[in-house]
C-alpha cells in the first residue's frame, strides 16, 4: 500500500511503486479530471501539482512521491492561484473541447503561484509543455494575464483590511 496526500485527503492505494501517478488518479481513485494525452510528458494533459509545482503525472512513479502534497484539477480551486485561473479561464472563454484544459490550468496556476506578473516570455516558458489541439493559445495567454489582474485587484481589495 502507498499513502498519498491528494487534494488535502489521505489516500491509501494498492499500486506498484513504478505505476505513474496518472493511472493511480484515474483508474484507482476515479479522479478523472487529470487526462491522458501522450504518456511521454510531451503534451501536459496530465499535469498536477506536487507541493505546488507543476509535474507530468504520466511519467511520475507513484512510489517517488512520498509525503509531498498532490493537487489535481479537482482540488486546485481550493488554492488561491487555482481559483483565480479557473475564473480567468471562464472570463476569457478559453475552452473549446476542454480535454487539455485541466493540464493548462494546472500549469498556469503553478506559474502564477511563483510569478504573479508573468511576461509573454514567462508564459511561453511555463506553458509550452501543454499542447492544445483546438488551438486556444491566444486565449490562454489572455487568461493568464486576466488572472494576474484579478489577483492584483483582490490583493488591493484586501490590503489594509481589518478583521473585526
Amino acid at each position: 500500500m502507498i499513502d498519498l496526500r491528494i487534494n488535502g485527503e489521505l489516500k491509501h492505494v494498492d499500486a506498484p511503486a513504478n505505476m505513474p501517478l496518472l493511472w493511480v488518479l484515474r483508474d484507482l481513485l476515479g479522479l478523472t479530471g487529470t487526462k491522458f494525452g501522450c504518456g511521454i510528458a510531451q503534451c501536459g494533459a496530465c499535469t498536477v501539482h506536487l507541493d505546488g509545482n507543476a509535474v507530468r503525472s504520466c511519467v511520475l512513479p507513484v512510489g517517488s512521491i512520498g509525503n509531498r502534497a498532490v493537487t489535481t484539477i479537482e482540488g486546485v480551486g481550493a488554492t488561491p492561484s487555482g481559483a483565480t485561473v479557473q475564473k480567468a479561464w471562464l472570463v476569457a472563454e478559453v475552452v473549446q473541447c476542454g480535454y487539455c484544459q485541466p493540464g493548462q490550468i494546472m500549469s498556469a496556476s503553478a506559474l502564477l503561484r511563483t510569478n504573479p506578473h508573468p511576461t509573454d516570455a514567462d508564459i511561453d516558458a511555463a506553458m509550452a509543455g501543454n499542447i492544445c489541439r483546438c488551438g486556444t493559445y491566444v486565449r490562454i495567454r489572455a487568461a493568464i494575464k486576466t488572472a494576474a489582474q484579478i489577483a492584483t485587484a483582490h490583493a488591493k481589495d484586501t490590503e489594509g483590511a481589518v478583521d473585526v
Binding site: P16, F36, V95, C97, P102, I131, C134, V138
Partner: protein, 730 residues
C-alpha cells in the same frame, strides 16, 4: 419494448465565477448563469435530474410540470460550442431564459435527430448551425405557440392577444400570466402548428449576442466527462496493439511475460490485434509491452510514401472525371502567357488530445457503450452487427468529445473495442496509446494536383485543374460518389469565386495501398483552398500584380468575398513595408457557406525557420448565433491549419506509419502561436459554417506570405525549411 436512453445528469449548478470578478476585469459575461449540463455519466443514477416530460412537443424540447426545460442536443460538443449555440436558438424562439435550461445529448435516432444536411445523425462538415438553424427555430416557436394557445383557451382570449416573457405566457390587456410549467398538460393535448411564426432578427434577444458557453464551467474544474472518463462499476482496463501494417494478421503470441505482470487479467488475441486486459491501464500497458507478437504483414508489407506519391503523380497524368467545365479551356490555353504548376499535400493524422477509446459491456442480452463519437447511430449499428444483437439492445452513452476533427466520424475504434469486449466478462475500457492512436488510424488523403492557366491583361483567361487522390466519400457515403466524382475532393475547386471565363476541373480517384483515408478538419476545402489560392498567387506574380489587387480585380461577382478581402487588407496593413525576410500573404475563400479572407504575416531566418507573427481574418458567415464562438473557431482553426502546414506529415515505410507521438508528430505550441485578429462583417444572410474555414485558410495564407518573404514558392506541405533557407523553389 426498449428502454429510452436516459443520460444521468448532474444537479443544476452555479457557474463558479462571481459577478464581481466579471465586472472587475471588465467583461460582460453574464455572471450568475445557472445551468444544468447533461453529461452522460457512468457514475450512477443518483446524479440524475428528475424530469417528467409532461410536454414534449418535438424531439428537441421537454418541459416538466415544474417548468424545468430540457433541450436535447442533436449535435455533439467537441469544442465548437454547438451545445451553447443550439440551446440559444431553441431558447430564443421558445422564449425561456438560458439560465433555466438543462442540456441533454440526443440518443441514437436518425429519424428524430438526423442532420438535415447529411441525412443521418452526424456532426461534421461545419453543418450544425446551417442545417439545424430553421428546424430548431421552428421547434422552439412551435412549442411556444402551443403554450400560448393553451393559455388563451384557458383565458378565453384570442391567442394573438397573448405573448410570452421568459417562461410565461402573458395576456397584456388583462395582466394575466401563466407559467409554462402550469400549461404543459393542456399544451400537450394540442397539435403542433405546421408553420409557427418565427421571430424576426430584430426581435432576437440572445442570437447575435455573446453568451457564455454552457459546457465550460465543468471543463475548468475537471468535472466534465469525456468518453475516456467512463467508469462503469466493475470496469477493467485494456490497451491494444493492432497490426502495424494495414491488413496484417497475428501469427502467434508469446504472452508468458505479460501474464506474470501483477494486475494483468487476460490476453485477448483476435486475428488482426492483441489486447491486454488488466486491473488498471498501467498494468495493461506493461503487459502489452511484454508481449512478443509475431505478425504476418500481408500484401502491404512494403508500402512507402514515395511509392504512393509516384502512383498519384501518374494518376494525375490521366484524364479524370469532369467535375466542371465552362468555356473552352483547351483553346484558350494554346495562347501565350501560360503557367503550369504541380502541388501535393501529405497524409495527416487528427491526433485529438483525447486518444481513441471506447468502453464496452457485452452481455448475452445487450451491449452498452460509453464513447464520444460524431456518428452515434453508426456506432450503434456497428455494435449490433458485430454482436448480432438488435440495435435497440445496443445502448450508446455519447459523451463530450476531447476533439473530433473528423477522427470520430469513424467507428473503427468502436468496432475493435466491441470485438475485444466480446471476449471479456464485464465492462472493459479500451484505451489507445498515443502511438497506437497515431499509427493505426485513418488519415487525411494525400492529394496530387496539376494546374495549367493562361493570363491576359492581368486576368485569368483559362484555368485547368486536375485533382488526384483517394475518395473518402466513396467509402464513407457510397451513394454520394456519383459518376466518378468525389464532391468533397473537388469542393471549392469547382466553385472558384474568381471570374474565369474558361474553367475545367477533373478528378482522378487513386486509392493508396496500405493506408485508409478519412475526413480531416476542413475536409476537401483544406486541400483545395491551399492549392488554388497558392496557384492564384503564382498567377498574380506572373502577371506582375499585387496579390490583393490581382484578386480584387477578378472578384466582381463575389461582393461578399470582396468585402472580406478589402476589410482584411485594411486591418492587416497590406502594402506597409516589412523588414527583409518578412512577408504578408493573403488567401480568400468561399467554403462551408462562409466567406473568409485571411492575411498571414511571417518572418523567416537564415536557417529557414518560420515565425508566424500575426494572422488577420475578415469573415462574413451570415447571421451569427454567438459572435465569440465564431472568433474562437477561427482562432483555433487557424492554429490547427498552421500546425499542419508547418509541422505535419504522416509517412509510411515498410507499410508502417513512421510517426508515433508528439515528439515526432509535432503540434504547434503556445510559443509559436501568432497573434490572431478576427473581424466579423455583420450580415442578415443565412448562417454559414465556421468550425473549419480557419483551418482551410491557414496554409495558403502562410505559403503566400513565405513567398513574399523569401521568393520561394512552396508547392508541397509541410513547409520545407531547407528550401526556404536555400532560396530555391520546393
Amino acid at each position: 419494448m426498449s428502454e429510452p436512453w436516459t443520460p444521468r445528469l448532474p444537479a443544476t449548478r452555479k457557474m463558479p465565477v462571481s459577478r464581481r470578478d466579471f465586472l472587475k476585469v471588465g467583461v460582460a459575461a453574464g455572471g450568475g448563469l445557472f445551468l444544468g449540463f447533461a453529461i452522460p455519466s457512468a457514475r450512477g443514477a443518483k446524479l440524475g435530474v428528475a424530469h417528467d416530460p409532461a410536454f414534449s412537443p418535438n424531439a428537441f424540447i421537454r418541459i416538466a410540470r415544474t417548468g424545468a426545460v430540457t433541450l436535447i442536443m442533436p449535435q455533439v460538443e467537441m469544442g465548437q460550442g454547438v451545445y451553447t449555440s443550439i440551446a440559444v436558438i431553441l431558447a430564443e424562439e421558445l422564449d425561456v431564459r438560458l439560465a433555466t435550461v438543462t442540456l441533454e445529448a440526443a440518443p441514437p435516432n436518425d429519424a428524430l435527430y438526423g442532420n438535415p444536411a447529411l441525412g443521418f445523425q452526424v456532426t461534421g462538415g461545419s453543418t450544425s448551425i446551417r442545417a439545424f438553424w430553421m428546424p430548431l427555430r421552428r421547434a422552439g416557436a412551435g412549442a411556444r405557440a402551443m403554450l400560448i394557445a393553451a393559455a388563451a383557451n384557458d383565458w378565453k382570449v384570442d391567442p394573438a392577444a397573448c405573448g410570452t416573457a421568459a417562461g410565461e405566457v402573458v395576456h397584456a390587456a388583462s395582466g394575466r400570466r401563466l407559467s409554462y410549467g402550469s400549461l404543459v398538460d393542456r399544451a400537450a393535448r394540442l397539435k403542433p402548428p405546421a408553420n409557427p411564426t418565427l421571430k424576426t432578427p430584430k426581435e432576437f434577444r440572445m442570437i447575435g449576442t455573446v453568451v457564455p458557453r454552457l459546457d465550460t464551467p465543468d471543463k475548468v474544474t475537471g468535472k466534465a466527462l469525456f468518453g475516456i472518463d467512463a467508469l462503469p462499476p466493475g470496469v477493467k482496463f485494456a490497451t491494444l496493439m493492432a497490426s502495424p501494417v494495414l491488413g496484417g494478421k497475428v501469427i502467434r503470441v508469446d504472452d508468458a511475460a505479460a501474464r506474470a505482470i501483477p494486475g494483468v487479467r487476460q490476453i485477448v488475441v483476435l486475428d488482426d490485434l492483441v489486447a491486454v486486459v488488466a486491473d488498471h491501464t498501467w498494468a495493461a500497458k506493461q503487459g502489452l509491452d511484454a508481449l512478443n507478437i509475431v505478425w504476418e504483414d500481408g500484401p502491404n508489407a512494403h508500402v512507402t510514401t514515395e511509392e504512393i506519391l509516384e502512383q498519384l503523380k501518374a494518376a494525375s497524368e490521366r484524364s479524370g472525371a469532369v467535375a466542371k467545365s465552362v468555356g473552352d479551356v483547351a483553346k484558350e490555353l494554346g495562347g501565350a502567357e501560360r503557367v503550369e504548376a504541380r502541388y501535393h499535400v501529405p497524409f495527416l493524422a487528427h491526433a485529438p488530445m483525447e486518444p481513441m477509446n471506447c468502453t464496452v459491456h457485452v452481455r448475452a442480452d445487450g451491449c452498452e457503450i460509453w464513447v464520444g463519437n460524431q456518428v452515434i447511430t453508426r456506432a450503434q449499428a456497428t455494435a449490433a452487427e458485430i454482436t448480432g444483437l438488435p440495435k435497440d439492445k445496443v445502448i450508446v452513452h455519447n459523451h463530450l468529445l476531447g476533439g473530433g476533427f473528423g477522427r470520430r466520424l469513424e467507428v473503427d475504434g468502436i468496432a475493435k473495442s466491441v470485438r475485444i469486449a466480446q471476449k471479456v466478462d464485464g465492462p472493459v475500457k479500451v484505451i489507445w496509446t498515443r502511438e497506437e492512436d497515431i499509427q493505426k488510424a485513418l488519415y487525411r488523403p494525400f492529394y496530387f494536383d496539376r494546374f495549367e492557366a493562361s493570363l491576359a491583361g492581368g486576368k485569368i483567361t483559362a484555368w485547368k485543374h486536375r485533382i488526384a487522390g483517394s475518395s473518402v466519400l466513396a467509402r464513407w457515403a457510397p451513394p454520394a460518389f456519383v459518376n466518378g466524382i468525389d464532391s468533397d475532393a473537388v469542393e471549392v475547386a469547382v466553385d472558384l469565386q474568381y471570374e474565369v471565363p474558361n474553367l475545367h476541373v477533373e478528378y482522378v480517384r487513386q486509392e493508396p495501398s496500405g493506408i485508409q483515408t478519412c475526413f480531416w478538419r476542413g475536409v476537401g476545402p483544406t486541400h483545395n483552398i491551399f492549392v488554388t489560392e497558392s496557384f492564384v498567387d503564382e498567377l498574380a506574380h506572373k502577371a506582375g500584380k499585387d496579390p490583393v489587387r490581382f484578386r480584387r480585380d477578378q472578384l466582381g461577382k463575389a461582393p461578399r468575398l470582396l468585402a472580406c478581402l478589402d476589410l482584411v487588407a485594411s486591418k492587416a496593413g497590406w502594402g506597409q513595408v516589412l523588414p527583409k525576410r518578412a512577408g504578408r500573404g493573403v488567401a480568400v475563400q468561399y467554403a462551408f457557406g462562409s466567406y473568409l479572407a485571411t492575411v498571414a504575416e511571417v518572418e523567416v531566418d537564415e536557417h529557414g525557420e518560420v515565425y508566424v507573427r500575426r494572422c488577420v481574418c475578415a469573415v462574413d458567415c451570415g447571421i451569427v448565433v454567438n459572435p465569440d464562438t465564431v472568433v474562437a473557431q477561427l482562432e483555433g482553426g487557424i492554429i490547427f491549419g498552421l500546425t499542419a502546414a508547418l509541422h505535419s506529415e504522416i509517412t509510411l515505410a515498410k507499410g508502417r506509419v513512421q510517426q508515433s507521438n508528439f515528439n515526432n508528430y509535432r503540434m504547434m505550441r503556445i510559443n509559436e502561436a501568432p497573434k490572431i485578429e478576427v473581424h466579423l462583417i455583420p450580415s442578415v444572410e443565412a448562417p454559414g459554417g465556421i468550425g473549419e474555414p480557419g483551418t482551410a485558410a491557414a496554409a495558403p495564407a502562410l505559403a503566400n506570405a513565405l513567398f513574399a518573404a523569401t521568393g520561394v514558392r512552396l508547392r508541397k506541405l509541410p513547409v520545407d525549411r531547407h528550401a526556404l533557407a536555400a532560396g530555391t523553389a520546393a
